[in-house]
């Protein structure tokens, strides 16, 4: 191996290591982590939005062919700005996806399992939710909305 090749190998390994350290910092230091294995929640069949405190919510979302059930069959929920929402997601039939556009909430819904993410909705506005995994002929119409309302203090 000549000198140029040794150099390029060192630079390549160094670059990849640098990227990797940043990733670990983002995940563990800044706490932008991926969904993990949730075993203490049983898969549920109905969507519910539960309020625990003025700005603390728990969302049980059910994805099914071809709509999101966020709360008693509705695909639209309303929460005040600044709310922290614990999102639990499951699927009642096939594999679905749930991406809240403009946020880091990007989850797969797989039957028999429960997925989990936590997100703080700071900015008021309409957050569109789309299903991003092919789930049958109605897939392109499977969506929902999270309306985040401004709160007057």
């Amino acid at each position: 191996m000549d000198r140029a090749e040794r150099n390029i190998l060192t630079v390549a390994i160094g670059l990849l290591l640098f990227f990797f350290v940043l990733i670990v910092y983002a995940a563990k230091g800044l706490k932008i982590d991926l969904p993990t294995c949730v075993t203490n929640v049983q898969p549920f069949r109905e969507g519910r939005l539960i309020q625990h405190a003025p700005d603390r919510y728990e969302l049980h979302a059910v994805a099914r062919m071809w709509f999101f059930d966020f709360n008693g069959g509705s695909n639209e929920i309303e929460i005040p700005a600044g709310s922290v929402v614990d999102i639990y997601l499951t699927s009642a039939d096939v594999v679905h996806g749930m991406h809240i556009n403009g946020t880091t909430v990007n989850l797969m819904a797989i039957p028999g399992t429960v997925n989990y993410a936590r997100y703080r909705f700071e900015k008021p506005g309409v957050y569109h939710v789309v299903c991003h995994e092919f789930c049958g002929v109605g897939h392109q119409a499977m969506q929902g909305k999270i309306v985040v309302k401004e709160v007057e203090r």
Binding site: I8, L15, V95, N115, Y116, H139
Partner: protein, 583 residues
Amino acid sequence: MRVEGSVRFIILSEIVFPILLLMFGIYHGVMQVLYRAGIIRADSFLGIDYYQGLTLHGVINAIVFTTFFAVAFGNAVVLYLLKKPLRPGVQWLSWILMVGGTLMAAWAMFTKRATVLYTFYPPLIAHWTFYIGAVLLVVGSLVPFFLDWIPNAVAWKRENPDKKLPLAVFGVFVNHTLWTIMIIPVAIEILFQLFPLSVGWVDKINPLLARTLFWFFGHPVVYFWLLPAYVMLYTMLPKIASDKGKLYSDPAGRLAFILFLLFSLPVGLHHQFTEPGISNSWKLIHAIFTFCVALPSLVTAFTVAASLEYSAKAEDPSVKDSKFYWWTRLPYLRLEGDKWLFSYFFAGLVLFFFGGITGIVNASYSLNLAVHNTAYVPGHFHTTVGGLVLLSFLGMSLYMVSKLRGTDVRFKGLAALAPYFWMQGMFMFSYAMMVGGALEGFPRRTNAGLTYLNPDSPLYRPEWVGYAQLSVVGGALLGIGFVLFLIAFFGTLLAPKVRESVVEFPIAEAYHDAPTPVLNNLKGWTVAAVLLAVLSYIPPLYDVTQRGVFYNSPAYKEQFPVPLKQLQQTQSETKELSMKEER
């Protein structure tokens, strides 16, 4: 080297048959950008549904075309470099399995029995012929490796004990070894989960286990597509760039192939970052290995650039001492001899540069949350498999056809221009998909023209319109590029024969060479690769089977929101009822 009879027919048909199918695959690629932008606002067009066409686009372009090409290329490389005849019996067996399997799966897809997309995630289920067809295709593609290439290499080694296996053969062998290993998990998924569910032997399966087994195959397979292209970059591109061209370093090539063998397998979880049921520490470990597999590509980037520099300077000594001007001496668009082939590799390499960078984004753990399943992902892989892989395969297909048929390459100018149309189209398409996906959340795999990009729909999302329209322009250029290629391809295929049929490749010698006994021990590295893959997959497989191997998801068809079994029951009950009423 002369070839005749059935071996010639088999190699030739393994190139022509998938290109005939690819014509449909790319036609539907162009259709998809029209659907997504709302130019075609319908479920189907000319009898093909959007999602049915998407399934065909993925399966034909990414599985059928690539597998057939890898076998045809492997046959030709092994035949030419080892100079040992291939066994017609083995070749026919492989040909019948591959063509038969492809026709079975194609029947299922064209008759709307297998609209499950290229990833066939259960509990959506297809007709059993789709699954068995896929198994026959991959089994057929392994037959020549075990019954033809390995015995020939063993015999060659006995006659040449002091020589190392030629680099191109070495690369082909690494690739098929990798292919053999990765097929095992997907074969388990198909034969023990999907096939029994599809024919009704079991009622329920565990979809998360199926996904994990699928991605155990589904990421390594991209290296199975890529390695034949790398073989060409290392061993042929320098010779095409200049007759005096040389490969910069032979050991670097072998090192890159061995690194691929090791790190291609323990990476599948980076497709499942956003998935429940798998501990995120294992996702992080697979992210590390995905970074490791970027290493051989970075080594290749250096070696290819160094080889091109050597070749350009050998061709034109006036740039010998220049650091940068040698770039201007490469045959970007030249028609003498085989130089037209250079434009395929060059356009492919330019696209692949972006494919590599965007791939590192995908692998970057929590960054994946911003892009997972958005249009960013197809934007990325169209610059890899739809960039370097496709262009080098098309270029080499045309080259091999002209040698095997003994004809001159016709419409050389169009053949040399086609990859640049393709490159420009792919830039526009991928840019639109990537930016629209990563910044605005435009989803992949969605017939968006019906809803999100339909101004009359309550679901209209105006922020996606510009990206969808730009992707239409890209798609149109891609279509034009492919048509230019087809003109040259069929022109060459049907041209009158002017010399004898041969198998021949422009193989470059190595500039730096050294004995590499450690790297050449393919058996040892294979064992290490299998161990690493198994170890990295035991914990996630434990995670996903905690609720049971046959956990409770019944099968569904994509048209109905009720389980298939329930649907069939209701259908038979209504039939009975109506028969009773008739009486």
